[in-house]
Amino acid sequence: MELKMFILVLGLLVGSLMPLGGASGSPGSGTGQDECKKNNGDEKNGNKTTKKSFPVLSLNYENVRLPFEISLWVLLASLMKLGFHLMPRLSSIVPESCLLIVVGLLVGGLIKLVGKAPPVLESNIFFFYLLPPIILDAGYFLPIRQFTENLGTILMFAVVGTLWNAFFVGGLLYGVCQLEGTNLAGVNLLSCLLFGSVISAVDPVAVLAVFEEIHINELLHILVFGESLLNDAVTVVLYHLFEEFTNAGTITVTDGFLGIVCFLVVSLGGIVVGAIYGILAAFTSRFTSHTRVIEPLFIFVYSYMAYLSAEVFHLSGIMALIACGAVMRPYVEANISHKSHTTIKYFLKMWSSVSDTLIFIFLGVSTVAGPHEWNWIFVVATLVFCLVARVLGVIGLTFVINKFRIVKLTSKDQFIIAYGGLRGAIAFSLVYLLNPKHFPMRNMFLTAIITVIFFTVFVQGMTIRPLVDLLAVKKKQETKRSINEEIHTQFLDHLLTGIEDICGHYGHHHWKDKLNRFNKKYVKKCLIAGERSKEPQLIAFYHKMEMKQAIELVESGGGSKLPSAMPSTVSMQNIQPKKPPQDRALPQLSKAREEEIRKILRTNLQRTRQRLRSYNRHTLIADPFEDGLDEILIKRKKMKELEKKISQMNNYLTVPAPPADSPSVARARLASDPQAWGLKSVTEIPTIKVELVSPQNPESVKVVDEFSKKGSQPKGSEEEGGLTMRVPSSEKQRKDKTPDEEPQPRFMRCLSDPGPAAEDEDEDEPFLP
């Protein structure tokens, strides 16, 4: 059936292609359109030509040209990414960014061969479409704790370091240009300074691309990466400043002063804009509980709007985006569903990955395409000065910073920070934006920038990994966050705040604590929906961990197989309470009642024993009742182990119910509370069969032990059968007053009949030898 359809369609295709066969062969033009027009024209001319058949298949490329080409590029980028990971050896030596640039070069070369002009990385496309996903991804997943702890250092590097770099490189280049022998006399100071400011900024895209692969320790990662994000403000200000000055022609001191003010406005303004949009997004997410599907959309659109709004006012768009992502994240994550969270994560990673790939490919293509003007001295001088400036800047700044840091930066750290100062596409795009009329040497700048970018990405990018290994720099620890660490982190925070209060001065912890309390009291109530607003961080962490383990449990096949994350080797029964069992809050029995119970039991048991003896004296050597007892005990033990396992899972999988559910939970707990059963069980003792407990199987007794703690364990519901026996012997223990005899009570027969414990003065004969 399908085959017939296919052949039919094929036939029609061939049939319709015949009249088109005579059409012109150029693929880029709208042949179909022309044909139609020609046909109409012919018809109007009086049907000179024969009527053409209805074009079943026509070629119309111009319509879809733009989306088609974009998709082709994106597809190419993704296929390249795929390809690199299929060649693990290559990707372990050469970082991905280098490979992508090479691919770009090849593609650019190919396009040039065909005779067309290869597309250049348009600054608009770069700044509005390619850069935001990467920055949003970085900002949303920014590790806030480390970032704020090192904020002073990062700011020093970003602001002071970039300024130093800019003026050093610009100034020295101007000096070189003034030298004789070079044809660079036309380069004035302002242009050099502009060039210096553009090229001195460390690029977040390149840094991310390279540092992600080398898994360096978190401190260094956040230092270099934070610097690359925050220096955007400096770059923007310097760029606009020098651009304006070049137009104006003269500089005055007021202009310099205004420049500083402008810097503050640009950076703080960007942050404020980002924060406003972040709060809006958090507020919106409070109400999305019924429309979970579009939750991720709000996040993306609000962030993008933050970026664009900042760009409108020439504020730092990157800082706005970072601020937006960082501000909205804690509130949004508390509000959105788990699936939305996964969606956001994956979309951000996907987009930033594609952007990143495209940027590098386009860099390669632009190199082939762009108008170049090669000047040996200028380019080499630029390169040398950039490197020297970076090294000097890092060393000088670290010297100052180390006076204020507790964890000082070692020389190894300094080397990595200096070496990790990669330049990238932002510098290229900024130079590309320059107006050739005002900057006649723009092409030379472009060439120089591309050379520096290539050098840093290729040479530094490739060699940083072996250098990191060689210098034995600390790598990122892949440990999971354990709940003990979380508890102690919180504990430490409160402890240090308390000590600061006792010391009397308002330090770092005091203000952090104040901010947290303000956040909890006012902000969370507004921005987080429902009950979650009151949830303290420790509980949120615990829930997240339980959820993760529950998911792992399900994914690993369920059943009694516990996921590796869980300490399946130890179960609650192994954690014994230090206090002896007699402190258990079990109902008190009066002495008289106790005696009575014991008497009844004893007589019952003796009677049973006599019965046994009378049955077995002559026929069997082994006591069949005892044999049967063993089987029953083994079965019971197996059952208990199974229940144990189930209860272990319950222990971990039980997410404590939110207050709304607590009445039912409380009811459930009450139902299983051994204390509630206590009294009832006492009256039932005389009629209970003996076989439930045996000295040979202490485990079963032990299990009982654990679940009859203080009446607070909700999961002991399965063990209540055994609990009935427990009551009298606990009395026994209390009577004996031996707090250290912990292992012994376990072995006590749950029956009130005195066991083998020698200290018991009511000892008759042991029930079972």
């Binding site: 507790i406 430490l492 402890l495 240090l496 308390g498 209060d501 179960s571 206090k579």
Partner: protein, 220 residues
């Protein structure tokens, strides 16, 4: 007091400085604070610390105050707690929160780590038996969550249980059903908190210059 110090105080400060590692200026400032808290008496009592306003909102304030009166923190083999402390004990407890110096050897760093973690351990181990039992740990978590009402109490048990399980499985590994994990010993405590760099995280900045002093000088 100001910057003028009488000779006997100076000598006392020097011995304290040698013992605890604080600089003379820091000791002077802390002494001022001590006098302020104890209302110019020689010894400090628990009630004096309880009067600090900012401490009210701290969920673990009782443990913190207790730590100042715990003999175990004064010297190596002290036991029990005292009712009032002098300036030397105050300073000794404070010295646990000094930042480690930059150029120290690995052994010194390890020693500082152990001392700080010992302080934390003593805060948890309230009955001084050398182990943190499940009950004690539960108490710690409950105090941390004490501001969350009923929800906190219910979850605290679950969290403490999970934490104990984790410690047991990390320190002891697989356990047979009839083995028992008594409680967290100090060695296990060291092990589980290896991930947190205690020696750099557990510190506060002690002032080197008392700004109040300058004001007093000017007013005089």
């Amino acid at each position: 007091m100001g910057s003028f110090q009488s000779l006997p105080d100076d000598h006392q400060y020097r011995t304290l400085s040698l013992k605890t590692g604080f600089s003379l200026e820091q000791i002077a400032i802390l002494h001022n604070r001590f006098k302020q808290l104890s209302q110019n008496e020689e010894t400090l009592r628990r009630d004096d610390l309880k009067t600090i306003q900012d401490l009210e909102s701290n969920p673990i304030r009782y443990q913190i105050i207790e730590a100042f009166f715990d003999r175990r923190n004064f010297q190596k083999d002290g036991v029990g707690s005292v009712e009032e402390i002098g300036f030397e004990e105050f300073l000794t407890v404070m010295s646990y929160f000094r930042a480690p110096a930059h150029h120290i050897t690995e052994e010194q760093r390890e020693e500082i780590r152990r001392a700080k973690l010992r302080f934390l351990f003593n805060m948890h181990d309230t009955d001084n038996d050398g182990t943190i039992t499940l009950e004690e740990y539960r108490h710690v978590v409950e105090e941390l969550l004490s501001r969350s009402g009923a929800l906190g109490r219910e979850t605290a048990k679950g969290i403490a249980d999970a934490a104990m399980l984790e410690v047991a499985s990390i320190s002891v590994g697989p356990m047979a059903p009839d083995e028992f994990y008594e409680g967290i010993t100090f060695e296990h405590f060291l092990k589980i908190l290896k991930g947190i760099e205690i020696e750099t995280r557990m510190h506060i900045r002690f002032l080197n210059m008392d700004t109040a002093v300058f004001c007093k000088q000017h007013s005089v």
